[in-house]
């Protein structure tokens, strides 16, 4: 059995701020990490490997330094990795990103593909399902538990708004996972050594066999028009005075709106 895990290197968003004058992101000094949801996907793959002896291949698309994310995956126990990287991939939206991943995955062979439910920088949750559509395989999103992995089928719990569904799918399948699924393991010492020594195989545009019109900015239907800081309301009214006066004024305001 072959398992492919898609990971993304992202800036730690709890540290990203916007420069209010230029309306651009301040990325200086922001550490890069593996997207937290993707760590749960790697862990899920490793647990299936322990039960079935499957081979786990972790792939990422990104600039050359995304190699660090793959080394981290090896240190956790991944058998193999691929860095999908080419200048032509720059500026890709979710359509062009999924298209490139699909082309790469087609070359690798797969039974189960695992992804984090979304990346914390874009928060779109779109790349996993789009990859499944390109590959013409089923997918199940928001997996909180993998109940059973068979030779031809898989049974999982899918998180919904008001509870969860138990869903069965034929293989091959793509799953996107939520944090409840498991606790990602820490790298072992042996894993860290392996990660250090590993030679990272790169796949560029030729290697995945994609066309220029389908990747990067050119292949992207969406464009970012502009980015800006979240707006604040202009009509706020500060209520001054003693506590007594403040509370009375507030009740007066609320009473006028017939709500209190």
């Amino acid at each position: 059995m072959n398992i492919i895990v898609c990971v993304k290197q992202v800036p730690d968003t709890s540290e990203v701020r916007i420069n209010p004058e230029t309306n651009t992101l301040i990325r200086e000094g922001v550490p890069s990490i593996i997207n937290p949801y993707d760590l749960h996907a790697v862990e899920a793959a490793l647990q299936i490997k322990e039960k079935t002896g499957a081979k786990v291949t972790v792939i990422t698309m990104g600039p050359p330094q995304a190699e660090d994310a793959l080394r981290e995956a090896i240190s956790m126990g991944a058998d193999d990795v691929r860095l999908i990287s080419d200048r032509a991939f720059a500026g890709a939206d979710t359509w062009a990103t999924s298209h490139a991943l699909y082309k790469a995955i087609e070359k690798l062979g797969y039974d189960i593909i695992l992804c984090g439910k979304q990346a914390i920088d874009g928060d779109t949750a779109q790349v996993g399902p789009e990859v499944a559509e390109f590959l013409n395989i089923p997918h199940i999103a928001y997996i909180r538990k993998i109940e059973d992995v068979g030779d031809k089928t898989i049974k999982v719990q899918r998180l919904m708004d008001d509870g969860y569904d138990v869903v069965e799918s034929s293989l091959p399948v793509l799953l996107t996972v939520v944090k409840e699924l498991n606790t990602p393991r820490l790298p072992s010492l042996k894993g860290k050594m392996a990660a250090k020594k590993a030679v990272i195989t790169k796949m560029d545009m030729n290697a995945i066999g994609a066309e220029a019109g389908n990747v990067g900015l050119k292949g992207s239907p969406t464009q970012v028009k502009n980015i800006f800081a979240p707006q604040s309301k202009a009509d706020r009214k500060m209520i001054e005075g003693s506590v007594e006066e403040q509370v009375e004024a507030l009740i007066r305001e609320l009473g006028g709106l017939k709500c209190a």
């Binding site: 720059a90 199940i140 569904d165 309301k233 500060m238 209190a260």
Partner: protein, 396 residues
């Protein structure tokens, strides 16, 4: 497209270096140099005081497609157990506004459910409902939902398609966008029409709510967006509104997944929080779990529910099901009272579309005051008990 530096004009001032979100500009030999990490985001273009950074079009850029065949606004009306979800009515509100602005029709797509629900969608603003009542749609499976919507889009060619950013919408809509080769914007919190181009301006938070982005899909149709629940307002309900129901056949639709069981486990307070007209929320400023007892009393007086910031949940003063914000619930009550909440942007994205926001905080600089309708700088343990007392007196 490529972004390049005109070396003649560049003075090496370095302003572009700071503007680059991807740290891909360096100063080399007194001139700006763009390295291979450039993501073509264009952020540097407007920053350069000399106009030395320019974009160069390459062959294959900006192919103008014929988009005139695409007309009308669609909303996907998701259903669970036959009932249209509340987000469907919110989408009808947003879709009606967009369709009126574009002077075009608003249609809804309903898969599963029954004719009664289809009629309801018309009363809430739809001109037309494409309805397929095949039992294959009773339970949610991604493949039949996406195949059916792809078929309908290819046949009828809408210019805009909106769906709820719910577990259902966010799961199967990406397959639709992949298949019809068009753009999809996730989890939008505002939608506008660009008057000149008729393009849909899709506004959404990114980077955990730290920034907002406006996304365009200029050369592909339809423009598809998922829309965050409880952000858009429902439209006008009109009992006498007329519209057409178009029955659709599910022949040829296939499915490789099967829902074996559906288990409900939403706690009641979670539902209450999102349905509540008044929410009294507490944050780190409460300082202790007992503070929530006081907030409960206030919430009860106002007929509302109690919410919390992530800080208070992390301190284990209250359960996660009460959390409001990016990693909790998005709420949109008539009145939101924030007590001892500083207003981290991750909290603000979950509550800032509330009608009235009252902020009570010791720190006059707290960002919560930036979104507040009414602000009181003071100690929550002085203000709230007095508020409770006065409200009780007023009620007699």
């Amino acid at each position: 497209m490529r972004i390049v530096v005109n070396i003649e004009k560049c003075t090496g001032c370095g302003q572009c270096v700071e503007s680059c979100p991807f740290t891909s500009i360096e100063i080399k030999d007194g001139k700006a140099f763009i390295n291979e990490y450039c993501q073509l985001c264009r952020a540097c273009l407007s920053v350069c005081p000399e106009g030395a950074i320019i974009e160069i079009l390459e062959e294959g850029d900006a192919v103008e497609a014929d988009l005139s065949a695409y007309k009308g606004v669609w909303i996907f009306a998701e259903q669970r157990e036959g009932m249209a979800a509340s987000v469907a009515y919110e989408l009808l509100g947003a879709g009606r506004r967009l369709a009126d602005e574009l002077k075009t029709e608003l249609s809804a797509v309903l898969l599963g459910s029954n004719e009664e629900q289809a009629k309801e969608l018309i009363k809430w603003g739809a001109d037309k409902v494409y309805h397929c009542n095949d039992s294959i749609f009773d339970k949610f499976n991604d493949e039949p939902y996406s195949q059916m919507l792809v078929n309908l889009i290819r046949t009828h060619k809408p210019e805009i398609v909106l769906a709820g950013a719910t577990p259902i919408g966010r799961s199967f809509i990406p397959r639709v966008a992949a298949k019809v080769r068009t753009g999809l914007t996730a989890d939008c919190t505002a939608l506008e029409i660009d008057k000149n181009s008729r393009n849909l301006l899709q506004i959404r938070p990114a980077f955990g709510g730290n920034i907002m982005a406006t996304i365009l899909c200029p050369n592909h149709r339809p423009q598809i967006a998922t829309v965050r629940p409880r952000v858009m307002k429902r439209g006008e309900y009109d009992e006498g509104r007329k519209g057409g129901i178009v029955p659709v056949s599910a022949s040829g639709i296939t499915c490789r997944t099967k829902v074996l069981d559906t288990i409900k486990e939403a706690s009641e307070c979670m539902v209450n929080l999102q349905e509540a007209e008044v929410i009294v929320s507490g944050g780190r400023g409460l300082g202790k779990p007992e503070g929530f007892k006081m907030l409960e009393e206030l919430a009860e007086l106002l007929g509302g529910a109690v919410g919390a910031s992530r800080a208070a949940v992390d301190e284990e003063w209250i359960s996660y099901s009460r959390q409001v914000g990016q990693t909790g619930k998005t709420v949109c009550p008539k009145i939101y009272i924030a007590c001892g909440i500083s207003g981290a942007v991750q909290h603000l994205v979950g509550m800032q579309s509330s009608d009235i926001i009252i902020a009570i905080n010791k720190n006059p600089e707290a960002p919560i005051f930036d979104v507040a309708t009414y602000g009181i700088v003071g100690d929550v343990y002085e203000v709230v008990p007095l508020l409770i007392k006065k409200l009780k007196e007023a009620k007699g």
